[in-house]
Amino acid sequence: MRLIDIEVNTAVEIVSFEGGKGISSKLRRLGLMPGDQIIIIKRAPFRGPLLVDANGRSVALGRGVAAKIEVSLCE
């Protein structure tokens, strides 16, 4: 499952980052790594970004970025 396909307010766990080194290292530097839990708080309209909560920090992620984050649902 990709983050972009997840509904608002669902808790998911990051499995891996796909694609370019650029995106994964930027996320890593922000403190987002495989194993971390995130929740989508909001979605902007017109193919806009997602607002997610990552360990208590709000982060806006563009669609393209969210499409490259593989996640799994947590119980």
């Binding site: 996320l27 530097r29 403190g31 806009g48 992620l61 563009g62």
Partner: protein, 645 residues
């Protein structure tokens, strides 16, 4: 003693710096406010120290130019004490950087800032325990209220004097530690001249060898091979690059530390969530955004025009009487007229609009609205080949184009930096506000001024669209931390406004006065006409009187000059007697788009390079010409339709 403020973006470094050094560094509630270092010599508790404010960085492996500045500063300047600010309300994230800083082996002090916010969120942190786990002093701080500064600096001074060395916390993974140790031994044998501890150097080289190596000015093959060997070893043993494995370890460790020393509060403060529900709403969010911009616009206009009118007539009255005292047409009268014109331009035309604008802008920045705009505008920016983060330079551009160009440092790609720099210098800065409001809104009404702003945005968007289509490459996409809303204090808002207005008062105003005197003399000795001849091709094409040439030339120094000198050049007190509405609009559009002022050109040259600066300047003249003609055409069209109806 040199003390460097280091911490993740938006944790309050510049706020602390300003508390100690006086307002010298810009602060704002968005990550990436500071993009360069500011040094200041200050006296704390009786001792002189050099305090340095640096850009925020999430980690020492930098990804953009602003962050690279931190590493560069750390490696090239003798820093005696690192003062690491950590946002206490996001302890876990902050500690990741702290762990990295510990590896540098320099005297380190951790300040837990934003203790007020942490408390509000119900978070409690066991400071003494954290102190013993990290092995360095940990002190609480509320930078915005100035609480905790004295104990903090007492501790800093103490550490600095005793030069206590700091030990990094060993990696839980024994393999990694072994690798670090044996690489640092090998490094010790080579004769490198870098200001790092050996182990620190070993870790840094493993994490991002290339950058550091190039700084060590050693195309040293042996060194390169050695590092490569170790990197391969890590990859073989762990299936990951050292960069990843080190940060994963620190990530886990930071989490563990945070869990041990802090108890989490309940959910987020609810009004924050409510505010976001409205301000980031798929529909209402945009309505509110337009509302905010319109109100802002009206407030600036109403305050400014209420002051401009009376003050202008006051000064004009003085100028008219001048001849009676010092002799009609005498040299001294001309010079005094120039001085008065320059002064009145500052007090009556620039400051009345600039001040409310800066106040409002400072408020929006501090409250935390800018990153929200990035969120709302991301999809629109995508269409210009950019992403939401680029909105920050644009918004800053409305204040002044120089910080806008500098803010492009927070963008990772060179392509993005070029594109955003080119576009952000077309944003009408506060200097151009004087022209748009003082001329257009004042004589033609505020809604025409609003139309000019809208027209400007459309032109920027189109240019972005065309340019990004020419230099198309994959758009990296938005990744941006959104900070909580914060209530700005009156004090910081005013200090900030003064800090920015001061730039006009000290640098631009004297120039306005000098320009006005020059123009008086140019008219007196009749060389104005010759200079105006130079710009005649432009002014002729635009259908403007040739006397407008000099103000346009001087506008390159400061954009306000174009308007202040205009009245003088046309030799009228009321511009509407000399220019038709159509001419005013053409003139303003041209002023908005053509060559940015000298300071901006210098910033472009510094952030990009000389060639790009010339390309952008030329492009701006072309765009100014085209758009001014389009504007002129539109006005003619609209008025002729008006006549027919």
């Amino acid at each position: 003693m040199r003390v460097a403020l280091i911490g993740q973006p938006n944790c309050g470094k510049s706020t602390l710096f300003n508390q100690v050094a006086g307002y010298k560094a810009d602060t704002g509630n968005f990550p990436g406010t500071t993009v360069t270092f500011t040094e200041s010599s200050v006296r704390v508790i009786g001792e002189k120290i050099d305090l340095v404010d640096l850009p925020g960085t999430y980690s020492l492996t930098a990804s953009n130019l602003a962050e690279k500045e931190v590493i560069r500063y750390l490696s090239s300047n003798r820093v005696d004490v690192i003062l690491n600010l950590v946002d206490a309300s996001h302890l876990r994230q902050g500690l990741e950087l702290t762990l990295e800083l510990l590896e540098l082996g320099k005297p380190l002090i951790v300040a837990l800032n934003m203790m007020d916010e942490a408390a509000r969120m119900g978070i409690t942190i066991d400071g003494p325990q954290l102190e013993s786990l990290l092995g360095v002093p940990v002190l609480p701080l509320i930078a915005s209220k100035g609480r905790g500064i004295k104990p903090l600096f007492t501790s800093v001074l103490d550490r600095g004097r005793n030069g206590t060395l700091v030990r990094r916390i060993p990696y839980q993974n024994q393999d990694l530690d072994d690798i670090i140790l044996s690489l640092s031994k090998e490094l010790q044998e080579m004769d490198l001249n870098l200001d790092w501890e050996w182990e620190a150097l070993a870790i840094r080289l493993l994490e991002e060898g290339d950058d550091l190596l190039s700084e060590a000015e050693s195309g040293d093959l042996v060194l390169r091979r050695t590092i490569e060997k170790y990197i391969q070893q890590v990859i073989q043993q762990h299936g990951k690059t050292p960069t990843w494995i080190f940060s994963e370890e620190r990530h886990a460790h930071a989490q563990e530390l945070a869990d041990r020393v802090s108890t989490l509060g309940e959910e987020r403060v609810t009004w924050q969530t409510r505010a976001d529900d409205l301000l980031l709403h798929p529909f209402w969010g945009y309505v509110v955004m337009l509302g905010i911009l319109l109100v802002f616009f009206q407030v600036v206009y109403l305050t400014g025009s209420a002051i401009e009118g009376p003050l202008i007539s006051l000064f004009d009255g003085m100028i008219a009487k001048l001849g009676g005292f010092t002799g009609q047409g005498s040299l001294i009268t001309d010079i005094l007229t120039g001085i008065l014109q320059g002064i009145s331009g500052g007090v009556a035309i620039v400051l009345p609009y600039l001040t409310p604008f800066l106040l409002g802008m400072g408020f929006l920045e501090d409250v935390g609205y800018l990153p929200r705009l990035a969120f709302l505008m991301d999809s629109l920016m995508q269409r210009m080949g950019l992403h939401g983060k680029a909105i920050v330079p644009f918004i800053l551009g409305y204040g002044c184009n120089v910080p806008a160009v500098m803010a492009t440092r927070t963008l990772e790609d060179r392509r993005d930096r070029f594109l955003v720099a080119t576009l952000s210098i077309m944003v009408p800065c506060a200097a151009r506000i004087a022209v748009i409001f003082g001329l257009i809104a004042f004589y033609l009404g505020s809604w025409i001024a609003l139309l000019i702003y809208v027209f400007n945005i459309i032109v920027i968007a189109l240019t972005g669209r065309i340019m990004s289509w020419r230099i198309l490459k994959e758009n990296p996409g938005l990744i941006l931390e959104i900070p909580p809303y914060r209530m700005p204090t009156l004090r910081t808002t005013f200090l900030k406004t003064w800090f920015r207005a001061k730039e006009f008062v000290i640098e631009a105003w004297p120039l306005l006065i000098a320009g006005s005197i020059f123009l008086e003399l140019a008219n007196r000795y009749k060389f104005a006409d010759i200079l105006n001849l130079l710009t005649r091709p432009f002014t002729w094409l635009l259908g403007l009187p040739s006397a407008v040439g000099l103000p346009l030339i001087f506008g390159v120094l400061r954009k306000e000059l174009s308007l202040i000198m205009l009245r003088q050049a046309l030799n009228v007190t009321d511009i509407s007697q000399a220019l038709t509405p159509e001419q005013m609009i053409t003139f303003t559009i041209f002023v908005v788009f053509y060559i940015p002022c000298l300071a901006t050109l210098a910033a472009l040259r510094k952030e990009l390079n000389t060639r790009d600066m010339f390309i952008i300047a030329t492009l701006s003249v072309v765009i100014a010409m085209v758009t001014a003609l389009i504007g002129r055409g539109l006005v003619i069209l609209v008025t002729s339709i008006g006549v027919i109806i």
